[in-house]
Amino acid sequence: MARTPLVFGLGLAVALLVGWVAFPRVLYVQRHQPLEFRHKTHAEKSGIVQCSECHAFRDDGTFAGIPSIAICTACHSERIGTTNAEATLVENYIKPGQETPWLVYARQPANVWFPHAVHVQRAALECRECHSPYGESDEVRIYQLNRVSGYSRDIWGPSISRLRRAPHEGMKMSDCEDCHRRRNVEVGCIGCHQ
């Protein structure tokens, strides 16, 4: 009988270890982006200041998201560097006119309608409030794919427990709702679902 608390404690420790450490490793599979890309270098060398210079809106208010290869071609029509990524970009994508198959960290499920125009152009939110200061980073992150849902880990956020979560970490429906509640903006189902 004296061993019961010990066994319970040990069992709890094993369960927590599996839940917090092993499970996320099994749940997410790591995928690499097709190219090296540095937001910071682009901002410094080409003088791009605004996110919208590459991540543009169309005239009808739709958001183009990741820029098309035409925007890359404007500067990279020939190799302008010596890195492998530069060679890959020019030879594999720019010369054949092929779009780069980027993995989109913030891709939402098909039934979600997220209007960038409403949030950025009308409500004047900063990109970083949802996307983190990723635009200032010097590397492409590894894309983590949830094996069960098929979505990016960015939707759940980096922390499995979601405790002490920064506002830009996580893009679940509850995160949208939290932000809307904080700003006192009421939206029904139809406001965000399609």
Partner: protein
Amino acid sequence: MSARYGMVIDLDRCTGCGACMMACAAENNVPPVPRATPRTGLTPMLVRKVSNGGEGVDRREVFIPIMCMHCERETPCVGVCPQQAVEVDKATGIVMQMPQRCLGCRYCMTACPYHARYFNWWDPQWPAGMEKALNPGVAVRMRGVVEKCNLCHARLHSATQKAAATGKREINPADYVPACVEACPTAAIRFGNLADKHDPLSLEVRSPDTFRFLTRLGTEPKVYYKSKEAWVRALAESNSGSGVETKRG
């Protein structure tokens, strides 16, 4: 200001061509269901043919396009849903069905007095190549859930987005016209904002020829019908299904 979107369907103008049904299916990614019967098909917009029961020269027929009536009060489908998958949108008055929340119990189909809700008996399948023509603004529904007319919410989204791009909150009414309204060759289906007193639709619903179905239930539908024929207007409170035949299932 919140809107109250509604329709007037002029039955004297409806020729029963079915263009509204086709436009609705194309806009809302409604899959063709070859195995379906009139009871199991997917027709968020359905043109029904009704006769006055007469014979020979006395016989009269009318085509009645039936869709979700977007009931304003005591909305029957909202109250019975155990999943909170249906709500009357406060900003637009649209009765919104959320198929992703639906568990497929079909209480709402039983509750709907207008039979305007449909169950997905099969997973959606499109003929080869047709999946490329899907509307990216509308999520495809899976087998086992209920769907209905959401008043072409993807078009409302596009209009909202377009307005927001210029910093506006109010949409341009010309940007939000449901597919059935747009497709109707005789302009029998008219759409507008009933909360706006100056909207032509608000004036039209006050015409003595305008009526709604089953108003005695007190659900305040926002889809109105119009006819100069007294026998057609008398159908409004009719319980009987006799003389009704579905044009297409």
